[in-house]
């Protein structure tokens, strides 16, 4: 892999900066504690203490790694609730919570990007929709989801919908918008001559769509999907809060923050970031595949 070296370099750089930041940001606490205890601190004391605090402002990378390891592998292999001993994933493991969030994200992304593409198709083809949908799609995005999410959940619960779907709907709500914006632009990207050619064939709207608009929207589509799937993940995590925040990375983040478990928050954050990175990476891979097949990768 020719990417390995650059990625490793960047990761190394981040880790170095991270350590420096941890020392710098946690030092205040160390000094305060020492002052309360009436002690002098040397630089090496600071170094030692800042990288091993229980409630650091910024946990050191190795603390997060240990937490990640413990809350995945160790938890599943050795704990009473782990998969080895109970046969099911432990509710203390990030694998379990990650999976809960991932399933809501994927469902939400499917709904959201599907809806986004449909709306974009409508907007591009129908003047009435062009004029009326977009302002409301924009307005819908300015409504803070956290404020209405509980209402959505209450309403959905009262019609008997619960579980994965309400979360997925909130996730879809956040992800459809980037897809609409990108796809409207993409579907309008064919240049005049390309459209004129279709006109001379007197091609029907669906034909223009499938043979011209859709192929030329590909670069925009993939950029939108990448943003959309990241938004889906954020949506799924947000959606976990009003569902009682019982499971999923969002619940984990929140629970971590109730109890000031900074290390646990960071572990969940890294978990979410890894999920996001993998999903965005997957779409990038799909993009390269598609563009190569379309002869557009040069």
């Amino acid at each position: 892999m020719r990417n390995t070296l650059p990625v490793l370099t960047v990761v190394m750089a981040i880790i170095v900066i991270w350590y420096a930041g941890a020392v710098w940001m946690n030092a205040q606490w160390t000094r305060d504690q020492a002052a309360r205890a009436g002690q002098e601190v040397t630089f090496s004391d600071i170094l030692r203490d800042t990288l091993a605090q229980d409630r650091p402002v910024l946990p050191a990378p190795h603390q997060v790694v240990v937490e990640l390891w413990n809350s995945t592998v160790v938890e599943e292999l050795t704990s009473r609730r782990g998969i080895v001993q109970s046969g099911t994933l432990s509710n203390r493991s990030l694998i379990y919570h990650g999976w809960i969030t991932l399933s809501a994200t994927l469902l939400g992304f499917a709904i959201g990007s599907g809806l986004g593409i449909l709306l974009a198709v409508g907007i591009v083809h129908n003047r009435a929709m062009d004029l009326s949908v977009m302002p409301w799609a924009i307005a819908s995005q300015t409504i803070p989801i956290l404020a209405i999410a509980p209402m959505i959940i209450v309403v959905l619960n009262s019609v008997g919908i619960s579980g994965l779907l309400p979360k997925a709907i909130i996730s879809a709500y956040l992800s459809f918008f980037p897809v609409v914006v990108g796809m409207v632009k993409g579907l309008r990207a064919p240049d005049h001559m390309q459209l004129d050619l279709m006109k001379t064939y007197s091609a029907s709207q669906p034909q223009v769509f499938w043979k011209l608009r859709l192929p030329s929207s590909m670069p925009y589509l993939f950029a939108s999907l990448k943003v959309g799937i990241a938004a889906s993940l954020v949506g799924a995590i947000v959606g976990e809060l009003p569902t009682g925040a019982v499971a999923g990375l969002g619940a984990r983040l929140l629970a971590g923050s109730y109890y000031g478990q900074t290390v646990q928050i960071w572990a969940a954050l890294i978990g979410a970031a890894v999920l996001a990175g993998l999903m965005v990476g997957a779409i990038g891979w799909l993009q390269r595949l598609t563009l190569r097949r379309m002869g557009m990768a040069r």
Partner: protein
């Protein structure tokens, strides 16, 4: 349908262009009012539009203070910093193939951090006032703008690039005279999506600690107090401000990317 009838007729009239969404919206509001009053939905669940309007009218000073705190201080500053940082990062990534391969995959990881996770941390780092909200906004808008800019910087076609080669243009000259203009349609996609993200981010971040003003503060407090009419009055402000913000960016987009087929086709 009424809306499509109007749309058909409105090829010329600018007033009518506005009329379609307004009529659509009024219909929606009317249905809402009817549903709430008719079906007897408890007002602690969903207040009627009329109640919201009444509350709006009597609370303009609070709404204004909240608006300044959240939108002007939190969202706008975060938006400017976040979008700027994303574009600069995209250019850095683009500048060096090494970073393209190194930073972009890592960027995918870092930039999609969920707001719920970072908001408490950023409040801890940057304090309770608008600075931490701006920081949350920075993180939220970064990714969409980054992805779109990176994509856009690849959009110049081969012949356009070859021309720059023949001039032996420096990297920066090619960037400013070719790559960035060609990337603008993409960049503006990111900027438009980010307008609404900035607002959401600033509001939601206030849920995690704030001074006792701000749209997010008011919303979460009033939900707890069952003051749902106030909640919706704030949401109305958010929707208006967000739409205006989006509209403004769209107008700028139209002026900057007038040459792109998606803009040239209309108007």
């Amino acid at each position: 349908m009424l809306v499509s009838w109007i749309a058909e007729r409105s090829t010329a009239g600018r007033a009518l262009r506005l009329a379609a969404p307004v009529i659509f919206g009024l219909t929606l509001l009317w249905l809402w009012e009817a549903a709430v009053t008719g079906a007897g939905v408890p007002r602690v669940i969903l207040p009627a539009p009329s109640a919201i309007a009444a509350r709006f009218a009597t609370s303009t000073s609070i709404l204004w203070v909240d608006f300044v705190q959240t939108f002007v201080k939190g969202a706008l500053s975060g938006y400017a910093i976040g979008c700027g940082a994303a574009i600069i990062t995209a250019v850095l990534i683009d500048r060096s193939p090494f970073l393209t391969r190194g930073l972009l995959p890592v960027g995918n990881f870092v930039a999609a951090l969920p707001i719920i996770g970072i908001a408490p941390i950023l409040v801890m780092w940057f304090g309770f006032d608008w600075q931490s909200k701006a920081a949350v906004v920075v993180v939220m808008v970064f990714f969409p703008v980054l992805v779109n800019t990176v994509e856009g910087l690849r959009a110049a076609d081969a012949m356009q690039r070859d021309l720059m080669h023949t001039y032996s243009a420096s990297y920066w000259q090619a960037l400013i005279k070719l790559r960035l203009p060609a990337a603008m349609p993409f960049i503006f996609n990111g900027l438009k999506i980010s307008t609404t993200l900035a607002l959401i981010g600033a509001i939601v971040a206030e849920f995690f600690g704030s001074p006792i003003r701000g749209m997010g503060f008011r919303i979460s407090t009033e939900v707890g107090r069952l003051g749902l009419d106030m909640v919706w009055a704030e949401i109305t402000v958010a929707a208006l401000a967000g739409s205006a913000f989006y509209g403004l960016v769209s107008v700028i987009e139209r002026r900057v990317t007038f040459w792109h087929p998606s803009q040239r086709g209309r108007g």
